[in-house]
């Protein structure tokens, strides 16, 4: 494969990071549905948003790797590729719902969508274990093998991507908290002005 193989060090850690973020989104959504906890709602929003960013990286780097190796950008019948696209679309629709819905039940609807969306994560992950696909076999587990030096580089890259994801999630979380406080203050201010 030559140098194109190095795309693997971006593609795989981004996918693992996205899966982890969608898993946190799932847990936070369940907690929100049970307890109506605002912090869980914010965590769900933040992890979905950052997860979509990492999933977009996966969707972009995958075809760039596939073109020189397979000779095509996309394999239309491949279950791994299509389930990943569906996963990306589910979480994009989650963000669109949260951004444009004005209903008071938006958070609950989004949480319910996130719970169903999370069902696609194991399907994406295990699709290459159980189905014959054009996508390469799993490199860790599932009968795959990776040279120790490559595994080390992959794990270091994943650790770096996790640090980046944590930093961005923390920043976005703080920003969302402040945004909601400002919106509450603005609503209070307009109420006070209306009563004068």
């Amino acid at each position: 494969m030559g140098d194109v193989q190095r795309i693997f060090y971006y593609h795989v850690p981004s996918a693992w990071t996205a899966f982890l973020l969608f898993l946190i989104n799932f847990v936070a959504s369940v907690v929100f549905l049970i307890r109506r906890d605002t912090k869980a709602d914010i965590l769900a929003l933040v992890t979905a948003e950052v997860g979509v960013v990492f999933c977009t990286v996966v969707m972009a780097t995958g075809p760039i790797w596939a073109r020189p190796v397979w000779g095509i950008w996309w394999a239309p019948t491949d279950i791994r590729l299509n389930s990943t696209l569906v996963l990306w679309l589910i979480y994009v629709s989650y963000l669109v719902l949260r951004r444009f819905s004005t209903s008071s039940k938006t958070a609950s609807l989004a949480a319910a969508l996130a719970v169903f969306g999370a069902l696609d994560v194991p399907l994406v992950y295990f699709s290459i274990w159980f189905f014959r696909t054009q996508h390469p076999s799993p490199v860790i587990g599932g009968g795959g093998y990776l040279y120790p030096a490559m595994a080390r580089a992959l794990l270091i890259n994943w650790a770096a991507f996790l640090c980046l994801a944590w930093l961005v999630c923390w920043t976005r979380y703080r920003l969302e908290v402040v945004t909601r406080e400002v919106e509450e203050a603005q609503a209070l201010e307009s109420l006070l002005e209306g009563s004068r």
Partner: protein
């Protein structure tokens, strides 16, 4: 090698774009906070 560079650029353009969106959102919220203080 061009494909490797393309993947590298795509990755950081995506992350950079998202960070730019966050910075823009932060500036907007800061302006709103200042207008609330007045």
């Amino acid at each position: 090698m061009n494909y490797l560079y393309a993947a590298y650029v795509a990755t950081w353009v995506i992350h950079g774009t998202y960070l730019a969106i966050l910075v823009r959102k932060y500036s907007k919220i800061r302006q709103e906070m200042e207008s609330l203080k007045k």
